[in-house]
Symmetry: D2
C-alpha cells in the first residue's frame, strides 16, 4: 500500500490545530530554558523494532480469536511493518524470529525492507518449541539441557540464527531461554545453570566481532516452578561470563509483582550492561498488553532512567528497542500504533525532566520538589511534540486516524483474505 | 485394562511393611482418643471427580509437548478415569466438558461408566471459545455480552449442557465465565455484571429442581485487565441473586497473590454457599500444577476449614470435588495419581486435628498451642491411613508403583498409538 | 496564620501564564463540545477530608524521623487543615480519630473549624490499640472478640465516638477493624465473623437516623495471617447485614497485589453500597504514600468509575472522601498539598472522558477507540482547570509554591517548637 | 534458671513413646540404606543464632501489645538465649545488634555466655535509626548517603561494631542497609549505589582477616519506593566488589511475592557467595513470623538446596544461621522454640532426600519420580530424629512442654516484673 504519499493531504485538516498546540507548548517550555527543537529531534531519531511474530492475532492457552487479513508470509509481515513505519516514522526496524520467519530469498527480503526504509534489528532464536522433524526434543531443556544432543541442537540453532542475521544486516542476537522446571526437584539448579553458561559461551564464541548478544530473563511461564534465567542478576552473571559484548535484555513484563524495574535499568546502565529493551505492559503477569495501557507512569520513570543513562553512562552501548506485545483482541497494526505512540509519549516526557533541577533537589533532600519536577514533566501534554517529530519525518499527524481513514485493514483483507494465520504466538 | 484384578498380587509385597506402619501409627493416634477406623472410613468415602479435559497433555501459549497414548475420544477418557479409580479408589466420578466431550451414544457411555464404577459429577459449559460453525462469536463476551445474539447463544449452550448432563445422571452445572476485558475502558463494568446476572438467572431457571448451579470466579486470564466474576464476593452476589441452589465454586488457582483462601472457604460455608471445589496448585498464577506440589500446608489449612464446615455447617450442602490441573510435563495419569494422593493426605491430616483441644486453645488465646495442635496433625505421616483406606476398597497399596508395574501407559500406547490428541486444553 | 489574605498578591505573578494556558485548553476542549465551566465548577465543589492523625510525621516499625512544628493538640491540627484549605480550597473537612483527638471544649472546636470554613466529616474509632487504663485488652480482638468484656468495650467505644461526632456535626462513623490473626489456627474464622457481625449491628443500632456507617476492609497488617474484614465481599456482606445506611469503604492501599480496584468501585456503586473512599498510593502494600505518586493512571481509572457512578447510580449515596496517607519523609502539609493536587487532577481528567463516545465505542467493540478515548482525557494537561477552580474560590494558583513563599512551616516551628509530636500513627 | 538439670526427670515420662517411635522410624529408614545415626548427628551439630533484638514483644506501626517478663538488659537477653539453648540444644549462639545491645563489661558478658554454652555469632550494625545525640541524621541515607558526614558516621559505626564483635569473639559482620527512597525521583539510583559500594569497601577494609562480611538485601520497607540493595543480584555485585570474604545474606522474608528463593540459594552456593541465612516465615511481606508457620514446604525445598550445597560446593563457606522473627502475639521464648523446631524438622527432612536417586531421576527426566522422592522425605514424620538429637545433647524431649512445665515465664516475671521492655524492634 502506498500509505506515505497519501499522508500529506490527510494531515492537512489537523495542521492548524496542531500548530496552535505546538506553539503554545513550545512557548511554555522554552520559557523554562528548554530547547524544544532538540526534544523534537531526539523523538524523531528514536526508532523501535517490530517483531515479526506479533503481526497476527495472539491468544492464550484457552484459545485465540483470529483476525482478518493477517500476513501469511515474511514479505507480508515486512509490508505490515512498512505501513506502520510510514504512518508513525518510529518503526524503522524489524526483528525476526527463527524458525518462524526464515527467509528463502535473502536479496528479495533485503530489498523489500529497504523499500520500506526498514533495517533488521536483533534476531531471535527459538528453542522453546519442537520443530517438525527435529532430531531432539526441547521438552527437557535446550541450552540448559543435560542431554548433549538437545543442547547441541539448541546451540547450533542459535549459530544458524546468527548466520541468517548476518545475511540481513542484523548486528545482535537475542536469546530468550524458556528453559526451567514446572515442579520442585525436576532438575538440578546448579547443573542447569552451568550448562546454560557453557552454551551461551559457545554461542558467544560464534558471534561476529561487531555483534552483540542479549540475554533475556523471565521469572516464570512457560515453566511454573523455576526458570533458569529467572532475573536480571542471573542474566548479568551470564553476560559477564560470556564477555564484553554480552548484555542483559529487559522485557517489562518479565518481573515479579511490584518490582522496581527502573532501578534495575539504572543499575545495568551504570555497569554498562544494559543491551536491549522489550516494551509492553501488564497488570498481572507477562500479559503482553499494549505499551502504556496499564502503567504509563512506571513507563515514564523507566524512560527517565534510560534518558539519564544515555546521557551519563558512556560505558553502556546504544540500546536495541523492541515492542514485544500480543494482540489478542485488537487489530495488531492498530495495537502497535498505540504502543509506538505510548513509547514516544513516555520518552518525550522523560526528555522534559529538568535533570539539573532534579539533581539539585536530590542533593538538598527536597523530596517534595523532586516529585514536583518529575510530575511537572509527566503532567505535560506532550502530544504536540510527538506529532511534530512525526511530521518532520513525513509521517502522519494522527497515525491511527490515518490508518482508519486509509482503510488499511480492509485493503489487507482484500489482498490476503480472511483466513490467513501469521506464524508466531 | 483389567487393572483391578492384578492389584491384590501386586499389593502383596508391601503389606507387611504397611501393616507395621499402620499399627504403629494407629497405636499412637488411638492413645490420644482418636478413632482411627473412623478416619480411615472417611478417607475411603472421599471421592474426587476427574475432568474429561485433563487426560491429555496440557500446554501454554508458547506451545505444548505432546504425550503418547492420549485418549482420542470420550470412551477412552472414561477408561482412563476407570484406571485411575481402580488404582486409587478415590476417583469415582468424571466431570464432562461440553462441547469437547459431548456423548453420541448416551446409553453406551452410561454403561461404560457404570462398568468402571464411575458416576457423572458436575458438568461444565464452554463459552470462552468459538466453535466451528457457531453463529455468534464470544470474542466480545458470552453471558456478559451486550450483543443479544451472542448472549442468547451462550445461555442456550448452558441449557443444552444441562440437558446432556441429565441424560448422564449429573446433578449440577459448573459455569466458569471467562468473560472480561483486556484493556481499561473496553466494556462497561456495570452492564457486563448486569447482563451476567440476567444470563445466570435464565440458566438457573432452566435447572432441574434437584440440580445445583456452581459459579466459579477467577481474577484474570484469559483476560488481562478485568474479569466479570473476579472474586468470591462477585460470585456470591450472583449466587444470591439466582437462588437457593446456586453456589460459589472455589478453584485454588484462581486468586490474587497471597490470598487467604481458607478464610474464604470458611466464610462461604458459614453462609451455606460453598458448592464446589477445584483442586490444583500454583506458585505464580493459575499454574494448574499437581495438587500439593507447591503449597501442601496451605492445602491442609483449607482442608481443616472444610472439615470444620462439614461438621458444623449443616446449612452448607455436600461439596463437589474436582481436580482441575494441567499436565504439561508429566504423564497425565501419573500426575492425577499424585494429585489424588495429595488430596487424601491433606484430608487425612485435617481429620487428625483435635478440634476440641483447638477450640479450647483458641478460647484461651493460647496462640502457641493452637499452632502446636495444627502442626502436630500436619507433621504426622498419614500415608498408612490413606493406604489402608485404599486397601479396604480394593485399590492399590502404592498406586503409582502399581501403574508403572502394570505398564499401563505402554499398553495404552499400544492400543491408541503415539499421536492421538485429547480434546481439551 | 492568615494565609488566605496573602494569596491574591502571591497569585498575581503567575496569572497571565495561567490565563493563557487556560484559554488555550478551554478553546481546545470547547471545540469538542465540552462545557469547561461545568468541569471547573465540579472541581471547585469537590472537597476531601483531612484525617487528624496524619498531620505529624509517620513512621514504620523500624522507626520514625520526626518533623519540626508538628501540631501538639487538636486545635493546632485544625489550624493545619485550615492552612491546607486556604491554599487548596479542596480540604474543607476534617476527619477525627478517637481517642487520639477527643475534644475537650466542643464549642471552641466547632468555632475554630467554622473559622477555617471546615466541617467535620466521618469520625473514626480505634480499637486496635490498648489505651492507658483500659479495662480490657484488644490483643485478642475487639469487635470480633470472643471475650465479651473486650467486645463490649469496643462496641461502647464506637457508640461513644458517635456521641462525640454528633456534638461536632459529623454524620458518619468509619470502622476500620484491625482484628485478625497472625498465625493459622489462632482463632475460629466463623466465630470471629459472627461476633463482628453482631457487634456492627449493635453499633448500627446506636447510629442516629441521619448517620451512615462505613465498614472498611483490609487484607493484612497489623495482622499477618488473616483479617476478619479482609475484602470488599466481606465488608459488603456485613453492611447488608446491618442495614440500608451501612456501606463499604474503599481504601486504595488495602488490596492484594494486582487488584482491579476500579471494578470493585463500579460493582459497589451499582449495588448502592459504596460509602466512602480513602486516598493514598502504594507500590508494595499499604504503603500510605502521597496520592498519585506511584500509579496515577490507576487513580484516573478509579475516578472514571466514580464519575460514571455519580452520574448513573442514584441508588448510591454521596461519597465521603478522605486522604489516608502517612508522611514519613515529607513535610506533612506539603505532602497533603501534593495529594490534593493529584486527586483534583485525576478527577478533572475523569470529567473529560467523553462518556457518550466511550459508550458507543464499547457497544461497537472498538477496543482501540475505547482506549483512545480514555487516554485522550488522561493525556490532557488539566492543571489550568484545577488552578481555575482554586482561583474561583480564592485559593492559591500554586499551593505548594505559596506554602513555601509564605514560610508556613517556619512560622509553625516558631509557634510550636521543634519537638512537638502529633498524636496518631 | 537452672533449666538443664531439671530436664532429665521431665524427659522421663515421654521416653518410652519416643523410643518406640524412633525405633520404628529408624527401622524404616535403615531399610532404605540410610544411616539414621548420621542424620541424628548432623541435626545435633546444627546451631542457630538468636538475635538479641527478638527477645521482647514486637509490633507494627499500629502499635505493640507488650509481654511480661521481657529482658531489660543484655545480661537478661543472654540468659533468655541460655534457657532456649538448654531446652533445644539448637540455639548455641547469640547475635548482637549495636547500639541496642552494646556491652559495658565485656569480660562479664563473655563469661555469662560461656556459662550458657553460647558463642557470639555475626554482629549487626544499625544505621536505620537516629540515636540520641548523634551528630548526623540517617533520614536521607547512611552508607548510601551523599552527605559525607552521615555516610562517614555510618561507616564509623560499622567499624565500631566490628571492634565490639572482636572483643566478644564474633567472626562476621552483617550489614542490613535500610537505605532507599519512598518516592520516585527522591534520590539518584546510580549515586546511591556507587556511594554504597564505596562505603562497604571501606568497612571491608576494616575487617579483621578472619572475619566475613554479610550483605543483606530486601526489596522494600522501611522505604516504599526503592531500596538500594533491593535483591540478591545487587548484593552479589557489591560482595564481589568488596572481595573474597564478602558474601550475600538471604533473609527468607526479604523477597517479592512468589520468588523462588531456593533457586537463589542454589545459585549463590554455586558461586561460593552465600554467607548467611535469616529464618522466619511470611504470607504477605516481611511479616517476620515463626519459622515454618506458613510455608513449611518452601522451607524444606530451601533446605534441600542448602544440604546439596553443603555437600557439593566446597567453594562456599560454612553458613551463619540466625532466626530473624518478630513476636507480636506469642511469648518470644515459646515462639523461638517453635521456630527452632521447624528449622530442625526441615533440615531433617532435607537430610532424608535420597540425592543419588534424585539425581538419577533428574537425568532420566522422570519428573514424577523426582517429586515422589522429595515428597517421600517431606511426608516422613521426622520428629523422633529431632528429639533424639536433642536428647543426645542433654536437651528436652519436648522443649515447649518442658518450658511450660518448668514455669519459665512465671519465674522470669517474678524476677523482672511485668513492665520491662526489651530494646529492639
Amino acid at each position: 500500500m502506498q500509505v506515505r504519499t497519501q499522508l500529506s493531504s490527510l494531515n492537512q485538516s489537523g495542521l492548524s490545530r496542531h500548530d496552535s498546540d505546538y506553539d503554545h507548548l513550545s512557548d511554555r517550555l522554552s520559557s523554562r530554558g528548554l530547547s524544544v527543537e532538540d526534544v523534537v529531534s531526539q523523538l524523531a531519531d528514536f526508532q523501535v523494532a517490530i517483531p515479526s511474530w506479533a503481526l497476527g492475532a495472539g491468544g492464550t492457552r484457552f484459545g485465540r480469536f483470529s483476525f482478518y487479513g493477517e500476513p501469511g508470509n515474511l514479505e507480508q509481515k515486512i509490508a505490515d511493518v512498512g505501513i506502520l513505519h510510514a504512518l508513525t516514522q518510529t518503526a524503522g526496524a524489524v526483528s525476526l524470529h527463527i524458525p518462524w520467519d526464515t527467509p528463502t530469498d535473502y536479496a528479495a527480503v533485503r530489498d523489500l525492507a529497504r523499500e520500506y526504509q526498514l533495517v533488521f534489528d536483533a534476531i531471535n532464536s527459538n528453542t522453546f518449541q519442537d520443530q517438525p522433524g527435529a532430531e531432539h526434543t526441547y521438552k527437557h531443556g535446550s541450552l540448559s539441557a543435560t542431554d548433549e544432543g538437545a543442547r547441541q541442537q539448541a546451540i547450533d540453532h542459535n549459530l544458524e540464527v546468527i548466520a541468517i542475521g548476518e545475511k540481513l544486516g542484523s548486528k545482535s542476537l537475542t536469546v530468550w531461554l524458556a528453559d526451567g522446571t514446572t515442579f520442585p526437584g525436576q532438575r538440578n539448579f546448579q547443573k542447569s545453570l552451568t550448562q546454560t553458561e557453557d552454551s551461551l559461551k559457545q554461542i558467544y564464541a560464534g558471534l561476529p566481532s561487531d555483534w552483540k548478544l542479549y540475554i533475556e530473563y523471565k521469572p516464570y511461564e512457560p515453566n511454573f516452578y523455576s526458570t533458569v534465567i529467572q532475573d536480571w542478576g542471573t542474566s548479568l552473571m551470564l553476560a559477564n561470563a560470556c564477555g564484553d559484548r554480552a548484555y542483559t535484555l529487559v522485557d517489562l513484563g518479565h518481573h515479579l509483582p511490584n518490582s522496581n524495574i527502573e532501578q534495575i535499568v539504572s543499575t545495568l546502565m551504570l555497569k554498562g550492561k544494559l543491551g536491549g529493551f522489550h516494551f509492553n505492559d501488564s497488570k498481572y503477569g507477562d500479559d503482553d498488553l499494549t505499551v502504556g495501557s496499564i502503567k504509563p507512569y512506571a513507563l515514564f520513570l523507566i524512560f527517565s532512567e534510560l534518558v539519564y543513562g544515555m546521557r551519563n553512562n558512556p560505558q553502556n552501548p546504544d540500546l536495541a528497542w523492541m515492542i514485544d506485545a500480543s494482540h489478542n483482541i485488537k487489530d495488531p497494526l492498530e495495537d502497535l500504533i498505540q504502543s509506538l505512540e505510548a513509547i514516544q509519549e513516555a520518552y518525550a516526557k522523560a526528555l522534559l525532566v529538568d535533570q539539573t533541577k532534579l539533581s539539585a533537589a536530590q542533593e538538598a533532600h527536597d523530596v517534595v520538589l523532586c516529585q514536583e519536577i518529575l510530575q511537572d514533566a509527566y503532567r505535560t501534554d506532550v502530544r504536540p511534540l510527538v506529532q511534530r517529530a512525526r511530521l518532520n519525518r513525513g509521517g502522519a499527524l494522527h497515525p491511527l486516524r490515518a490508518y482508519r481513514a486509509l482503510g488499511v485493514r480492509d485493503e489487507l483483507i482484500r489482498q490476503r483474505g480472511k483466513h490467513t494465520v501469521a506464524t508466531g504466538l
